[in-house]
């Protein structure tokens, strides 16, 4: 069974530029999550999707971050414009329909904003 796929793996941009990350969850997983992990900290949930609907985006900085999950499969996370403090690893995870099931994580995208 293929795992959660993410691309790109690494991205370096200058502040005020835009960037987009892509995630393909495990086939059949209805729930998709985006996390931000700053160096030395645990992951922080940004947004949770159930199929193509948003369940929770309370910690997403909506003035600059946006995410979508069209057709309830792949998802993209965008930052526009980026700030220095956005430098982090962005992790995508997916799980089966029920929240009682464990979340499977992708390898992450390491973003450096200069």
């Amino acid at each position: 069974e293929a795992g959660v796929a993410q691309s790109p793996r690494y991205k370096i941009i200058e502040k005020r530029q835009s960037v987009a990350f892509w995630c393909n969850p495990i086939s059949g997983h209805a729930t998709l999550y985006w996390y931000q992990q700053i160096l030395g900290q645990g992951p922080k949930l940004l947004i949770q999707f159930q199929n193509n609907g948003v369940v929770d985006d309370s910690q997403l900085p909506k003035d600059r971050f946006s995410a979508e999950r069209l057709k309830g499969v792949d998802s993209t996370l965008k930052i526009q414009p980026a700030k220095l403090e956005d430098s982090a690893v962005y992790l995508c995870a997916s799980s089966l329909d029920s929240p009682l099931y464990e979340q499977y994580f992708g390898p992450g995208t390491r973003l450096t904003v200069t």
Partner: protein, 112 residues
């Protein structure tokens, strides 16, 4: 809001030694997850605990959730270099919503 505190923050042990990592919550835990992360990689699921007093084992790793469901421990027996990495505990911040909050992680080094 709920917070998870892990201790110790980092650990260096000699190969073959046992070790324990603790995860303490400020509120009742509805679901407690243990993950392992290698630098530059995603999180690998280890175990999930839900019931007070529950204990699960996989190979040389045992995780426990206390009766009051506010503390969990992860114990590694006879550590090996392959156990090295960052161990993270995560918890559902409400009743089974899937919205996980994580501790800050414990970095484990195992010296051959």
């Amino acid at each position: 809001s709920q917070e998870l505190e892990q201790s110790p923050q980092s650990l260096i042990v000699q190969e073959g030694k046992n070790l324990t990592i603790n995860c303490t919550s400020s509120k009742t835990l509805y679901g407690l997850y243990w993950y392992k992360q290698k630098y530059g990689e995603g999180l690998i699921f280890l175990m999930m605990l839900q019931k007070g007093g529950e204990e699960k084992s996989h190979e040389k790793i045992t995780a426990k959730l206390d009766e009051k469901k506010q503390q969990s421990s992860l114990h590694i027996t006879a550590s090996q270099p392959s156990h090295a990495g960052i161990y993270l505990c995560g918890a559902d911040n409400a009743s089974n919503t899937g919205k996980l909050i994580f501790g800050q992680g414990t970095t484990l080094q195992v010296k051959p």
